[in-house]
Symmetry: C2
Subunit: 181 residues, 2 copies
């Protein structure tokens, strides 16, 4: 069994509105010491795999400020404090794709950059959709892009479908649905 | 065709040894204005899917400072300035798992958090391995964990195999190898 490194000291070294960076002094089980930077996380976010029917997933296209380009991916959003993640997932798809879901299933909790960032995201499979819209806070309308699962190789080949979390969520959902693409 | 938002202004709002956060004022095509925070990226990193044989991938277990726990995942590392990413991939597996690869193939470029972080990672499939070690700079020896591909559901069910990038890389590699798990 691995014994976790002991945290000897930690201090905040940079802070903005969204990001807080802390420096952590660690002592590993073998005595080795290292100082790492990390971004402590708040609550989990959700990413949703919304199935319009057994063959079609609903993707979205929106601008990513980090990558500075339009990205194809799955709908996602924050879980408000105290909110049930499945309720958050249902709210996000109403805001982003104009559907609610009668069936919501949490299928995996993933990390994004576990070496540096504490944040995790809950992957939710949404089925039995019905039209229902909520206003979102997006600066421009989000484009909804239906994609057939039998064209997954064409999707993976696209440069603008590249978010590791979207790729992972889609494949995990396929396995949970017992459907090899 | 979507017209990318115009960047009206940008300024650094936080900086540490590893992270630089900038605030960006954007004007979208419809005139809507937003201020976002983003972490501009440097060079790409690599993540490697090292196949010991047709049935076995080599995973590693190491401490993640971001998540503050031991994580199971795929070997990864930085591409040095001017370095060929495939050379970097071969170096990283020699450092982390004690194998070099005679066959290295780039199979996808993924983003990690495209909404906020510019950084991308290149997924490299490594085959035809042979024992070869290079010293790494890890604080403690990395544990190498061979995993059979026919036990992928057991892997996905593990809480400590949760990095979205590792999940995505593994599934993409399976498709490239023409092998449904």
């Amino acid at each position: 069994m691995l014994r976790k490194p002991k945290i000897l000291d930690r201090r905040i070294v940079a802070q903005s509105r969204l990001f807080r960076v802390e420096e952590v002094d660690l002592e590993f089980a073998n005595g080795a010491r290292r100082t790492f930077e990390r971004v402590p996380g708040g609550t989990d976010s959700v990413m949703i795999v919304p199935m319009l029917d057994a063959e079609t997933v609903l993707l979205i296209r929106e601008y990513g400020a980090g990558s500075d380009r339009y990205e194809l991916g799955l709908p996602k959003g924050v879980v408000e404090a105290g909110e049930d993640p499945l309720v958050a997932a249902d709210r996000e798809i109403q805001e982003e794709i104009g559907y609610g879901a009668r069936e919501l299933q949490m299928i995996k909790r993933v990390s994004l950059v576990p070496g540096y960032i504490q944040h995790h995201s809950l992957i939710v499979l949404a089925r039995d959709l019905y039209p229902k819209s909520l206003p979102g806070d997006e600066p421009e309308p989000i484009e909804v892009v239906p994609w057939r699962l039998d064209a997954i190789d064409e999707l993976l080949a696209r440069e603008d479908f590249n978010e590791a979390r979207s790729v992972a969520a889609l494949f995990i959902a396929l396995r949970v649905m017992g459907r090899e693409p």
